[in-house]
């Protein structure tokens, strides 16, 4: 019971079911890519795990602890949004230090830690910059730095919703290095991604469906990218097969 357990989770918006009786288990120190067409419930699943949306049924467990009714700010889960949500009224340093400040970490250690995190994401010297002046890639890495800064090393669940959206290939490469380092430090990463390089890095993938439909929420296939590529019923599998062949 050390990893993430999504047990029989159901979520609907009005009449429309977005997740239906979903069961997923992710082991510690794994990178898992969450795939599927638009509307298949990928983002909803991450929001449920993060605590931003209550499931209508089922429960969420992490490291043996039941998170289902735990408020979002107590879960200690890291979430990197699809479109980076940086605080516009704070500079880069304040953004990265936000989680530490909320946790009551003294100023000196905050400053030290922020500098370390900015080095980690390759943005040394950005501390005093206004967030308006950042490019998309820089903003995404700052967001990641703010998530990383709050937590001690290891044993953290990171949820990332298309973190490479709008990034240049070089920035994607830097981001992947950060993700690999996270996993080396015994963290777990669940990532929604359409970037093939990132998908290939995943230990295994989850394909949500139904395929070709607008309503989703069912588990179509799961396994390594190669295994999912062999599932005939999965559109994502056929897509993976093509790119793996190339």
């Amino acid at each position: 019971m050390s990893g993430l357990h999504v047990e029989d989770v159901g979520v609907s918006y009005g009449e429309m079911a977005v997740l239906e009786n979903l069961d997923v288990v992710v082991q510690r120190s794994e990178v898992v890519a969450l795939l599927g067409p638009s509307g298949s419930g990928k983002t909803t699943l991450l929001r449920v795990v993060a605590g931003l949306r209550c499931p209508d049924s089922g429960r969420i467990r992490w490291a043996g602890e039941n998170l289902t009714d735990m408020p979002v700010h107590r879960r200690g889960v890291g979430l990197v949004f699809q479109d980076n949500a940086l605080f516009p009224h704070r500079d880069v340093e304040d953004n990265v230090a936000f989680g530490l400040r909320v946790a009551g970490v003294p100023v000196e250690s905050r400053i030290r830690h922020v500098a370390k995190m900015l080095r980690l994401v390759g943005l040394d010297g950005f501390a005093a910059r206004s967030v308006d002046t950042l490019s998309g890639g820089e903003a995404q890495r700052i967001k990641l730095a703010s998530e990383l800064s709050r937590r001690g090393h290891g044993h953290t669940l990171y949820l990332m919703d298309e973190p490479t959206t709008g990034l240049h290939a070089a920035d994607v490469h830097k981001l992947m290095k950060v993700i690999n380092r996270l996993v080396d430090q015994d963290n777990t990463v669940v990532i929604i991604e359409h970037n093939l390089d990132v998908i290939k890095c995943a230990d295994w993938v989850i394909d949500l469906g139904p395929e070709g439909g607008h309503e989703g929420g069912e588990l179509i296939a799961c396994g390594t990218p190669e295994q999912v590529a062999e599932v005939e019923a999965s559109h994502t599998g056929r897509f993976l097969k093509q790119i793996l062949a190339n």
């Binding site: 408020p71 700010h73 979430l79 936000f98 909320v102």
Partner: protein, 525 residues
Amino acid sequence: MVALAPVAFLTAFFSYPIVSILWRGATSDIGSLLESFGKPTFVRVVWFTIWQAAASTALTVVIALPTCHLLALHRFRGRAALRAATTVPFVLPTVVVGGAFTALFDRLGLDGGVFHIHHTIWAVLLAHVFFNVAVVIRTVGSFWEGMGVGPEEQAHSLGASPWQALRWVTLPCLGPALASAASIVFLFCLTSFGVILILGGPTMATLETEVWRHAVWRGDLPSATALAVVQFVAVVAAVAATNRLQNRLVFPGRQQAGRLPKPKRHLLVANLAGVGLLIGLPVAVLLERSLSAHGGYSFRNYSSLADRVDLLPVSSLVALSNSLLFAVLATGMAVVVGGLASVVVVHGRHWTSRLLDLGMTLPLGASAVTLGFGMLIALDEPPLDVRSSRWLVPVAHALVGVPFVIRILVPTLRSVDVRLREAAAVLGASPTSVRIEVDLPIAWRGLLVGAGFAFAVSIGEFGATSFLPRSPDRLTAPLALFRLLGTPGEALRGQAMALAVVLMGLTACAVLAIERVRGPIRGSL
């Protein structure tokens, strides 16, 4: 829990007094009430209240339209300054405007003889136009600016003369904006109190002034109640009509100022002259009169503010310091109550949010006189025996200020991206921390602007304050000014002018501070 404080405040100091008026009206002797409704004096008062508001509205719209046209469809040096100048009168206290026009009539010899204007309907109409021209320019001007010259040019290309284009195309297109602006002006004129009392004189009577005269002068509370009930119903109907027209108004996209043509010289000169005469002249004459003493010019009238005259229980300077103290207290209360209410309106459950939004903005629509009269009759027995409390005047001022805070703060809070709150929560911020760390830093400008408006409203508040009993040493500056203006004598008149200028200066400071802080915040009135 957050909703408790604003709801308690609104219930105790607004709903309870208003319900008390209605309850007294409903439980009084219906026969005598109907009898008073049937009296010729009563019918005359109701008729005059309505027609003076209608005439003021029509005159305001007609006089403001050329300036709307100039500002909306032309670019010229000083455009922003002209727009700002037309806004100034709207924020001036009514007693100051009364003082300015009294000074003007005095200076131009219009307070007697053949061209007698002072204490006639013309004085009231002029002052109402002076006050409300900003409403039309802001509402119709913004709409016209968005509409651009397209429809007019199209009409010309199809052979329409300028008059035909105006009549058949431009005015119908502007219809919703004109109706909306006119309804607001009508509401303001319907509830006009200080202007009628000062410039209309003792013989001119509207529902507002009659409620005051019956309650405060004659102590005839049953008649005052009957009048207040009618006034309340009229105001509610006007507010409902105004809201309906406001909701229908959809502003078209804004044209770029750089693409606008320059105005014809005669159009610009005529407009500047008109605005100068209507707005600049009364203010300039007020300044001139405040400096005029014993046939020359000096600051004697200003230094006399520290002297106590027999007419007033305290000196004008003490009245000013009272007003400042009350304004600071009222602003503090308005910010706390309005701030909490805004948080509930934005983050509360749907029905609590809607209810509080409507409830807290009601005092903006209700007349200050009705509010003051309600407080006078309702707050004198347990559980709310606070009529002689020194807090009552700031509370009444805060009630009028709270809607301003909410109207500014709610859109600002709504503009905070929900993802920022989520990001903060994911990073470990509790709901309270999210409010402090995310909402507050983004909304503080809105809070300051709301506070500025609450301060400006309080410093010039006259209608509600004139009803509230207070110890003589707690006289406010607008009340002192009203008494000074109503008493003949050069020295008293000079002191009144100086006091009016100081009040105008304080309001102007608040407005300048608002404009400085305002920046790109979304809230508006």
